[in-house]
């Protein structure tokens, strides 16, 4: 049916870490008196002194801290940001890691001399200029693992009723690289793992091809994209689109992928089949304050409404709409907001809700007219994750999470027809990602405030718009996601937790656990059918 072709790619799930969240864990540190550690490691071999510190940084740290030392999902490490900091304190932080964050302990992985050398190197290296990564570099980076795709099996090689039942989890691996870094695929009916794709560095985003259920695309922290054959559970190709950056979208016809980077400041359209780059875009523009800036790539999203991609330019505060036709022309929508980040679609993909961190708003954009409709209050530092929308009593309600590092910790609920705020639901702390399903009674949000609350998710009743339950997941609980049938709620117990926990959506009883290292984003294959989590597949049918 024609409908299949118009399925939408994804909700724009964006950086799963939080850029530069840096509240110190004073309480926990003092509990074990780590601040006082002065570890006598001087005795270790001195042979490492010749090692290239830059390489050591690139190989161990850059995937989180940014290839340009300017920060990515972790803060920038450079002469400016580390000015005046005690080398001993930095050394002990690198050895033990930072508790309850993604910063891993390098004790035993790097020698003491390497750690000392790194501290010196970081405290003397300025943030690097935006490195170049051209269309030729991208082309040359393509790796082919399966030469002849016609040899691939015609059907899944495992038992599954519908490919929609497949759930993918971005397992980061403790160190953001290594054997723990992979995309793990689970059958969301049986809660059993059906396959895993090693990704070298932390998997960050998983997206599915709306036109052909066999293909998934996995993007890593270091901006590689793996084209994955879900039927045989293997990577068939990969390409490196930049150095860091999670932005990834697939067009509704499944023919194009668009990827965007933090380092360097560019985006690229790829052939979804071969991963060949077709066109690159320099991300720059005049920001809402009138300044010309070079910009990180924010969310990228394909829409079931049209053959387009929308991409948010974080620093320039613009949304660009790219038409998927000869030359890939761009329409620029300016003054969307300060520090744009992620977004979600509504109304058959004709409306885009974009979060602006620094303005505390979500801006509704009409993708048909390519104009701003309205700016809506969105709590404190809105991070809408993949967004969620549900139909309740004839209204379509959107749910927006936010870091909420100020006093106001609320989840915003908007009427997406009238484009107005319906309610700001008080929750226990800052939130990062909502999950909803047409068949499930609750909207789940992950509390990320840096204390015990980070182990919990809260459930908001769709009808009363009140929090009705708090679940302690264990580990840093984040990125809730419903199975395609809405019967189960998956949650990552990440950071030092090492499992994905599964709940019954109605009883909220724990029903299963799937072990993996530092799980983060969870992506149901069902998303290609319901566009934005919580909507029914009919929403897309109504698109045209």
């Amino acid at each position: 049916m024609n409908l299949t072709k118009k399925r939408l790619s994804q909700s724009a799930l964006m950086p799963q870490g939080h850029k530069f969240r840096l509240i110190r864990q004073a309480a926990q540190l003092s509990f074990i008196g780590l601040a006082a550690i002065a570890l006598p490691f001087g005795a270790q071999a001195a042979s490492d002194t010749t090692k290239n510190m830059h390489q050591l940084y690139e190989d161990n740290c850059a995937s989180c801290h940014g290839s340009d030392h300017g920060g990515f999902i972790a803060p920038g490490l450079n002469s400016e940001s580390l000015k005046g900091r005690s080398p001993t304190a930095l050394r002990s932080l690198i050895m033990t890691g930072s508790f309850d964050t993604l910063m891993p302990p390098f004790y035993g992985r790097l020698s003491d001399d390497d750690i000392r050398g790194l501290v010196k190197h970081l405290q003397t290296t300025p943030k690097q200029a935006n490195p170049s990564w051209t269309i030729d570099d991208i082309k040359a980076s393509i790796k082919v693992y399966v030469k002849d795709e016609s040899t691939l099996p015609a059907k899944p090689t495992y038992q599954v009723n519908s490919m929609d039942d497949v759930i993918g989890v971005a397992a980061r691996g403790k160190y953001g690289r290594g054997s723990g870094s992979k995309a793990v695929f689970i059958n969301s009916i049986t809660h059993k793992q059906i396959g895993e794709i090693p990704t070298g560095t932390a998997a960050h985003i998983i997206d599915y091809n709306p036109a052909n259920p066999r293909w998934a695309y996995v993007k890593t922290d270091t901006a590689e994209i793996f084209k994955v054959d879900l039927y045989s559970m293997q990577a068939v190709r990969s390409v490196k689109t930049g150095f860091n950056g999670p932005g990834l979208g697939v067009s509704r016809d499944g023919k194009y992928i668009m990827a965007g980077s933090y380092v360097p400041h560019n985006a690229v359209i790829l052939n979804a089949d071969t991963l060949e780059p077709l066109k690159t875009f320099e991300l720059e523009g005049v920001d809402p304050d009138g300044k010309m800036v070079s910009s990180d790539s924010g969310m990228i999203i394909g829409s079931p409404m049209d053959d387009i991609f929308a991409i948010a330019l974080e620093n320039a505060g613009q949304v660009w709409v790219v038409d998927l036709k000869e030359g890939f022309p761009v329409t620029k929508i300016e003054k969307v907001g300060r520090h744009l980040h992620d977004a979600f679609l509504t109304h058959g993909g004709s409306k885009l809700m974009v979060a602006a961190y620094d303005d505390n708003i979500v801006t509704a954009i009409d993708l048909k007219d390519r104009k701003i409709i309205k700016k809506l209050d969105a709590g404190c530092v809105p991070h809408v994750g993949g967004g969620a929308a549900v139909e309740v009593d004839g209204r379509t309600l959107g749910f927006g999470t936010n870091f909420g590092d100020c006093d106001k910790t609320v989840v915003s609920v908007w009427d997406l027809d009238k484009m107005e705020v319906v309610k700001q639901v008080p929750v226990a702390g800052g939130t990062e990602s909502p999950a909803a399903h047409a068949n499930a009674p609750y909207v789940a949000v992950d509390i990320i405030s840096k204390d015990r609350r980070a182990r919990t998710i809260q459930l908001i009743d769709k009808k009363t718009l009140e929090v009705v339950k708090t679940l302690d997941v264990g580990g840093h609980a984040y990125f809730p996601e419903y199975s395609a049938d809405g019967k189960f709620l998956y949650v990552s117990a990440g950071y030092n937790g090492d499992e994905v926990v599964v709940y019954d959506s109605n009883s909220l009883e724990k029903v299963a656990s799937v072990p993996m290292e530092s799980p983060a984003g969870i992506f149901s294959h069902g998303r290609v059918r319901y566009m934005t989590r919580g909507l029914s597949p009919d929403e897309i049918k109504g698109a045209k």
């Binding site: 074990i32 008196g33 780590l34 050895m95 302990p105 691996g173 030092n496 937790g497 724990k510």
Partner: protein
Amino acid sequence: MRLAIYSGLLLLGLASVQSADAASIYAGEAKAAAVCSQCHGIRMPSADAPFPPLAGRDQEYLKTALKQYRDKTRKSDIMNAIAGSLSDDDINNIASYYAKLKP
């Protein structure tokens, strides 16, 4: 599956020793989750990490090891520093938490 077994154990603990034990598991859990899991993981350490696993280990062994680290009869720069500030209660709680956890 794993979880069902784990919570079964927890319940047994609760039934037999009553709330004192529940509190200690909880206290142990809080500290283990906040601090020890950074290196040892909760159920398992990272496959790439040089840290020994703790989940499901013998409770007495864990207690003894922690006390030895604390009084430095067992030497490890890092564990001596970490165990140095643990009280007897902390050690009991953490050991009982990790011992009851299925790896």
